[in-house]
Assembly symmetry: C2
Amino acid sequence: MADQITKRSENYSQWYNDLIVKADLAEQSAVRGCMVIKPYGYAIWEKMQRILDDMFKASGHQNAYFPLFIPKSFFSREAEHVAGFAKECAVVTHHRLMNDPDGKGVVVDPSAKLEEELIVRPTSETIIWNTYKNWIKSWRDLPILCNQWANVVRWEMRTRLFLRTAEFLWQEGHTAHATAQEAQEETERMVNIYADFARNFLAIPVIVGHKSPNERFAGALDTMTIEAMMQDGKALQAGTSHFLGQNFAKSFDVQFTNREGKQEYVWATSWGVSTRLMGALVMAHGDDNGLVLPPALAPIQVVMVPIYKTAEEHEAILDKMYSLKKELEAKGHSVKIDDRDTLRPGFKFAEWELKGVPVRLAMGPRDLAGGTVEVHRRDTMEKVTMAIDSLVDSIGKLLDDIQKTIYQKAFDFRAANVEKCDDWEEFKAKIGTGKFLLCHWDGTAETEQKIKDETKATIRCIPVDSFVCEEEGRDIYSGKPSRCRVVFAIAY
Amino acid sequence: MADQITKRSENYSQWYNDLIVKADLAEQSAVRGCMVIKPYGYAIWEKMQRILDDMFKASGHQNAYFPLFIPKSFFSREAEHVAGFAKECAVVTHHRLMNDPDGKGVVVDPSAKLEEELIVRPTSETIIWNTYKNWIKSWRDLPILCNQWANVVRWEMRTRLFLRTAEFLWQEGHTAHATAQEAQEETERMVNIYADFARNFLAIPVIVGHKSPNERFAGALDTMTIEAMMQDGKALQAGTSHFLGQNFAKSFDVQFTNREGKQEYVWATSWGVSTRLMGALVMAHGDDNGLVLPPALAPIQVVMVPIYKTAEEHEAILDKMYSLKKELEAKGHSVKIDDRDTLRPGFKFAEWELKGVPVRLAMGPRDLAGGTVEVHRRDTMEKVTMAIDSLVDSIGKLLDDIQKTIYQKAFDFRAANVEKCDDWEEFKAKIGTGKFLLCHWDGTAETEQKIKDETKATIRCIPVDSFVCEEEGRDIYSGKPSRCRVVFAIAY
């Protein structure tokens, strides 16, 4: 099983692809750049969705649904947005097929050309702000706190499963506010919800910060981000939250009467995370045996494998397993009994390791007689023996411990690979070796671009929490004065 | 509030549109035929999704996700399917926009023409069976029981909110089986799940049956359906389940090694319900005051409106309301306190009636002093006084009663409007007056078509449960012999 997967040390990128496919998470489809998300992968995504959706609702947001298609002209309204999003995209030009006059299948009916082309949404600011125009008249209509779960399409030239696909699934929040301050608070609130989700559910430590102007969302005044370190030391942008100012309100003429009775443009935010999080999950925790899933997101938290020779043994062990399963499920754990009779236990062990199931129980006749069970934890690959009598409590604690241990491992890995750096030669030597470098930056787009051109490294963020470092210094490249360090890394 | 809505008796169709828009369920978007589903409407759809999804999972199905786009050539593979689905559809022909050389926004880049056009999925049998080809080798890989929640696009010429839109949301199940019998059982299982959902959650009685060959899904050997009667006596097809035989397996060459070691084509089903159910909900239960929501699907089950003059009264009443809210929520009921201070109680009453909230509580100082509360039920518009002490129990029972009463009302309405009919002149006189007519049919497509041409009536189904009527008789139109009655109606 695991021998079908390339080792991380051999080829990290190939390991990633092998793992996605062999663990049944996703696969390429017949359509260029579009993936099929398989049931096991989709079950993980559903858990992510449910948790995030609950967090959004607890913070006052509601779901809605806006059209898949956006009239081409909408993109031209916001000057920066058009440059960022109306380039590589799927363009619908016709609305009918007809039988090929030559009898070879179907062809596009030339008489069914649309008057205005439609773009399959790459992001929905334009269509949503065109809608909000009708929803907002007065300050009493604000705030509007909408989210949508949807598919979006960006015609990427080079695609990778989950990380960069032409079609992907995501949520996009779009809020409208009466004041700049409220919108900025919302921007921060949502990036912090993403950070909370990453740390407590994905078990991935993230750095929260602002993007440099170069790396902002097209049309935003400020973009906040959560940045995660993968096991190859590269950075993955895992979620972003944008303060859009009044840009979209102005482009779509969305004004409201404020408390003073004056007309004013509405303030906006947008924020999103996508199926890219699946890629983050795989790359942050997986090992050469396969996936390692944090219990909080594992579709199966505990798998049980019976070990027996006789039919009598089989029945006795299964009886016990079903009663344990019931008890564990009553405590909210998801449990699977793998009773396939055509496969050896060793094969099953390897398969569930590949799929990252956090805990495996194996039980044979001697275990049953002795009132014990062999428990294997996926994260450390350690085996311990547990008493059946107290198993339900023990498993609950073990799952908690696994969740924490996975996070701590990722945290320690990152801690070992973040360094301050004040020397340009050292920067060049280290940046390609899987490090996040905390460096002074002079704040100019010019310097940022030069560093990127020479090293491929980008400013991942100007940190606001754990890595914030406000101190006087000099830009690592230009030597000009700087007041704080920023995070440089090579990114996915 | 309600005076903004056309009365049903005046113009049922206008009433429907008014209601959808005024109750904040949905609205037209800037894109022809595509709707915006507003937060209140989407909250109802989310409840439907959650309940159906739980039912699908309880019957062994898993969710997955397949691409939005389908290569044009895929549609030509299944001969009937192409005729049914590859006509009015959204066709993607290009993958890039560029700045207009004349400086007027953006235009399609002619150099970015796709080699093969992509169709935005109108339904996913083709792309899914092309995928299943790689998943299925042996009988051990079967059954595959997948469902997906997705958006689909059919370029309808005449659209109506929820009932017929260019883009709509739905779920589509696609299953693969080793035998015809298993696939047929699955087809029946799913139509029965839909019927169960319609009756117990939508509170809509439905007739379960088979479609006549004319009305089958393009590519199916059998289509089962649930048919509901709206308040104008027209039929609404609310869900379908298809036995696809080996048609798609043959078109996409999906074979498996059966238990005897022989190669065989796989057997298939597909089944779906869509946001059309929202239209059914509105049309089945709404009245001239607005929506009437069954408690099982109401995003807000109980709304509380405080009635007060002084700040002291206000505070005391709100205190009581928050404690009641907490108790009701602990019992699983969703509760909203409408404490907007800029609106009169009468205005609030009308608004929540319009939005179909099943139960409204109004509490004033005298109620509080007397330990009572005024309770209004939306379905019958009756008011009763309840004791605050036992309110939580009383509300639970009331919600159950409302759910049953709404169903019974729809059931009685249908019972009053279904008739046996054996005379063609009578048929012509009655079919346009809002009746379902149970008639003998000779089983030929020819007769069915002639009846449709003369009266617009179609065979909604050949019933299998409540309305099954196997008896000798003569076709209502042709006079030829028949062995059972079928359901004729004018349909949405």
